[in-house]
Amino acid sequence: MSASRIALWVLAAVLLTFLTAPIVVIMITSFNATPYMEFPPRSLSLRWYANFFSSPQWYDTALLSLRVAVMTMIAATVFGTAAAIGIVRGSFRGRRALEAFFVSPMVVPIVVIALGFYFLFTGYQLLDTPLALFLGHTVIATPLVIVMVRAALQTTNPAMEFAARSLGANFWRALWHVTLPSIKAAMGSAAAFAFLISFDDVVIAIFVAGPDSTTLPKRMWETIRFEIDPTLTAISSLLTLVAVVVLVAVQSLRRIGAADRME
């Protein structure tokens, strides 16, 4: 191996350590027996996890986050999948522009989107409700669904749908029995990511959530700003675990998707 090659690997090792360090350190720190967040911990315990699961002020916020994330996942997947099919299979003017519009929430600063929600929901007395969070999260989760489902659709063969139609299936039957099964893996992955986007959101929650609709990230945010509570390390590990579970699910779905295309 040449010297430049070795230098490249050393740099890569440093960078990958840098990228993973925050979650590795926080996970190990979460097992501290003392409230000083030592790293490495001198004595181990599960007290911060016990603290999280036994205090309603944490646990209830997690349940609300879960409810909002599941609703967001469903809505974003339905809206996003329908829009992606329309964009890829439809033939109308301005499809490219419409697609750019649909994907644009990905690059509009989330603070600006959240500010818009603040003004919108104040006007309708929806501030500090789970409904406001659900609507807001659906806006930021739908673009990713569109991007992922669109990519999957482009690898499928539209001739199958024409065949189903010419054999007498109506529009909805062809959609349900031919189009959707061919992209179900991508829809599953997109749904998983939509869940995660909602579950992890803090910026929209900062603007539209209040005492009656505090999500887990919002409660974390408030706690970090005022005092550093070691329970945060346990919650951080759990949130990392959720992300890993989602990634593993997406990875297995990708394998299913590849198998579907082989058939």
Binding site: A12, G86, Y118
Partner: protein, 283 residues
């Protein structure tokens, strides 16, 4: 046959309608409310914009935002380019390991990672203890609530947004071209500079634009890891709403932020095509 296809196509096109209606109500309409708040109080006025231009504090925030974003983009490029190059030229198995190690933190909550830096870079944190023990510094350094903390936090979050588009472009470069150049007698560094580097430039452009756009609107990390010198437009908007209840200014700063981002995005999608920019993030 053609008639059937056309009918089919128009039905398919109608599937965009639910999302379109939803976007208009819950995305476009709220954004228009921001514009309304910035121009009306309650009659039409330009006073918010005039004050933003006249007040050094707001100008400073815009300057901070751009300074932070340019630096983050630069660091991400300098660090991300070699990593993407390594991913392109290494074995499939090594690339898979690297990708997983990038993806797990990438999908972990930004708030979690930012909180982790508060623990790691704190006065008695891991980094300071290591620095003191090794003897590099006599006493713990201030690594948080300044530009250093913000850069560490933001580069950690945004580096994958540089690496994925870079890798996307690099992986399509035909490595045989480089082998040919080598066999014709060009030394490795010349092959890299004259063959690989120019072919990878679309990835550099896409990665830099994506990182820069995301950095401009970044909120959580500058708010938690930055100090008074790192107040950005995003953190100022939140302050205007939650602390000062000054909706007109919040709205005006939001429009300024939107115009900066929208301008760059429009310019770039016209120059490079949209797919290059948005394709990478979902990798």
């Amino acid at each position: 046959m053609i008639k059937t296809a056309r009918f089919w196509h128009s039905r398919e096109g109608a599937l965009v309608l639910p999302a379109l209606v939803f976007y208009l109500l819950v995305y476009v309409y709220p954004l228009s409310r921001i514009a309304e708040w910035s121009f009306f109080a309650p009659d039409f006025t330009l006073k918010f914009y005039r004050e933003v231009l006249a007040e050094p504090t707001y100008f400073k925030a815009l300057g901070n935002t751009l300074e932070i974003s340019v630096l983050v983009t630069l660091f991400c490029l300098l660090l991300g380019y070699p990593l993407a190059y390594l991913m392109t030229t290494t074995s499939t198995r090594a690339r898979r390991v690297i990708t997983v190690l990038i993806l797990i933190p990438f999908w972990t909550s930004v708030l979690v990672r930012t909180f982790a830096w508060l623990v790691i870079l704190g006065r008695n944190g891991l980094v300071n203890r290591l620095l003191v023990e090794v003897g590099l510094v006599g006493e713990p350094q201030k690594l948080l609530f300044n530009m250093f903390g913000v850069q560490v936090g933001m580069v950690q979050v945004l580096l994958p947004f540089m690496v994925f588009p870079l890798y996307g472009v690099m992986s399509r470069i035909d490595l045989n071209v480089m082998r040919v150049a080598r066999s014709l007698g060009a030394p490795p560094h010349k092959v890299f500079v004259h063959v690989f580097l120019p072919l990878s430039l679309p990835g550099v452009a896409a990665g830099c634009i994506l990182v820069f756009l995301l950095a401009i609107g970044f909120y959580v990390t500058p708010a938690l890891l930055g100090g008074p010198g790192q107040i950005t437009l995003a953190t100022m908007i939140d302050m205007m709403i939650t602390t000062f209840l000054n909706f007109g200014f919040a709205a005006t700063l939001g429009i300024v932020l939107l115009v900066v981002v929208g301008g760059i995005f429009a310019l770039v999608s016209a120059l490079l095509g949209l797919n290059r920019i948005v394709g990478g993030g979902s990798a």
